[in-house]
Subunit: 390 residues, 2 copies
């Protein structure tokens, strides 16, 4: 260590960083989606403290609006202070106890993430198999339950990596509950855009991200647990392995006490409140209908360009359209063209589908004719530049 007095050390020059001037993108990728102007405005609201009586009221309102959007009466419905993966880890890390067996799917990127979280929570992971791009077959789920008797079953309702919607959710929960297991649903890319019903489908836990069909900046992420699931969490013999995401501690803040746990991301909660108000104003079912209608136009448009959807219509996911990259076309070149020439963001495939598909979102405030027409125009030009004629 230097023997110089601390204050004598010369200060380095401060970095010269200019004003924030991001490009004006049209966000048609797997998220974030375009944020509604009212939500952006809510983000600039001056803060109150996270224990302010007026913020307690905001918390109540956000919880009520989340319940409406999740279609649930669950008391334990909160925004988790992090992005969608934090809500996923809050669900998995609290419900899976050391020694529990967790059943997760192999049909997309996010089942693998669930597996990693369940292992880190001390669980033993077993899988129910389906190829990337296919939903789970209830018969396979039933077989996996018979083989492994899992305690917790996680599945992905809307696979962002494949554009596949899991149908027959009630069948899956019936199988799980016949085995006394708990069911966790990933609704990151469906909540607020694609039919999703926590209570009617008898889900024990579900989570989402705000930057998809809710069109809210990421940072506070929806989570809901049934009383039965919360009983398991509160009856754990060992503490969850994350303090930050320990739901028994978060209960103190979001439950009746409203006692300090950590400083909530106040502004993100403000924004989520405004995004959820927009859901309530539109009506949740009307919102599902809009996503389906606008995404149908998108789907028809890409087919007119001579492209194919990756998912059959039976389990097509309106909010995330995985479009096959045709032979002779380079996926990255088209993505770069759209970004450079049109300021449009779409994404490449992930994992098993890398290079095979483009992922085109149609979510929230991005699920508008204006965005879809613009995307189709840009895509037509990008394909033509690649010499593709459909």
């Amino acid at each position: 260590m230097s023997q110089m007095p601390e204050q004598s050390r010369p200060a380095e020059e401060p970095p010269d960083v200019g004003e924030l001037t991001p490009p004006d993108r049209t966000l048609m990728g797997p998220g974030p989606s375009d944020v509604h102007p009212r939500v952006l405005r809510a983000m600039s609201t001056p803060l109150v403290g996270h224990l302010d009586p007026s913020f307690i009221e905001v918390m109540n309102e956000v919880q009520e609006l989340l319940r409406y959007t999740f279609r649930t009466d669950n008391q334990w419905t909160i925004p988790v202070s992090g992005t969608g993966s934090a809500a996923m880890e809050a669900a998995i890390g609290n419900l899976v106890e050391p020694g529990d067996t967790a059943l997760v799917p192999t049909n997309g990127y996010f089942g693998g993430r669930m597996a990693s979280m369940a292992e880190r929570a001390g669980g033993e992971v077993v899988t129910v198999d389906a190829p990337w791009g296919e939903p789970l077959d209830p018969a396979d789920v039933a077989d996996a339950f018979d083989d492994h008797q899992p305690d917790v079953f996680g599945f992905v309702h809307a696979e962002t990596s494949t554009g596949v919607r899991q149908p027959d959710v009630s069948e899956l929960t019936d199988i799980a509950h016949a085995h006394d297991a708990y069911v966790v649903a990933d609704a990151v890319t469906s909540l607020g855009g694609v039919e999703f019903r926590v209570d009617e489908w008898d889900l024990d836990a579900a989570y989402s991200g705000p930057q998809k069909c809710l069109s809210c900046p990421p940072g506070a992420s929806p989570l809901t647990l049934s009383d039965r699931a919360m009983d398991k969490v509160l009856d754990r013999e060992t503490e969850p392995r994350s303090w930050y995401l320990d739901l028994s501690l978060l209960e103190g803040y979001w439950g009746e006490d409203r006692a300090y746990h950590h400083t909530a991301p106040i502004t993100n909660v403000y924004a989520l409140r405004e995004a959820l108000r927009l859901v309530a104003e539109e009506g949740i079912e009307a919102r599902w209908d809009r996503h389906r209608a606008i995404a149908s136009d998108l789907k028809a448009g890409v087919r007119e360009l001579g492209l194919e959807m990756n998912a059959p219509d039976a389990y097509w996911l309106p909010s995330l359209n995985a479009v096959r990259v045709p032979d002779g076309v380079d996926d990255a070149t088209v993505i770069d063209y759209l970004l450079t020439e049109y300021d449009i963001e779409v994404a490449s495939g992930l994992g098993d589908l890398a290079g095979e598909v483009w992922r085109i979102g149609c979510m929230g405030y991005s699920a508008r004719p204006k965005n879809v027409e613009y995307l189709l125009a840009g895509l037509a030009e990008a394909l033509a530049a690649e010499g593709f004629e459909g």
Copy 2:
């Protein structure tokens, strides 16, 4: 389960939640502090994607500005996607491996939080004792090292619960490094407001929150690790117990690859960038000086009212002023009076100091004469209403 077709279920009425109209608070508590208007404006910037080339540039700028503010050249300097406690858990949960011994202090609320995180990480926790309201004595730290040979030593540079600043930081790190241990510093309430020097003090890891002396909304929280600390993290035999906060995975996003891990809280990163630009414009040392000067006025003012500071001047923390509640005065009544009559937030004591002190912040954009004069005027009136005459 109901046998009705899913779509025939009548929709509940959407909640009737009005426009967001929070009160206009002056935030003089332990955080959040008042947010600078330029930072609020940055929060309403339309989003780009978290993998957009323009966002990669923003990430680079934020990292450079964080290094300047932390006084470090550490490559591993990032905003963690959560509030300050998430950054704390990222530091503790990655550095503490199962079987490691973690040494933490007992002299405030946040040492206890470190202990809980270290235990959950699989560590064995030992303590170095000091009363609430006192800093650690290097001799006690040396004794604790001799007794326990800890692998990781965490301490709190600026205790938000007691208003105490830890002096002699270099002495503590010298002791720890003589024992080959890693040192983690909690700088939640000092970064950007009170002298804090990562490299010169030879710290292995440090973290903070944005909503204190940086005057930025909570949601993306500063963290820095030395190469030596990051080597320990990357050489772990077992995975960290949180996927969300696994620094070896975050390396893929914030390191050279810029590959997807999770969706960064884009807007919070925008805001942090603007808050850190304000630090760079003012100059970090000038900013420390401002906090000390403005908080000195606050301290003189509360003493003129006949009140006493909880911390002696030798380890007074300018950013968080713990003021003794005088005999015969109810702390909560004064807090309510300030909130109701003046729209000012200050906080009560925590833990061992509950009912004993008020905690008055003087942080970032709240560290202004306007706020201090207003607080002193309100406090004088609140004390008079309680019949206290100093």
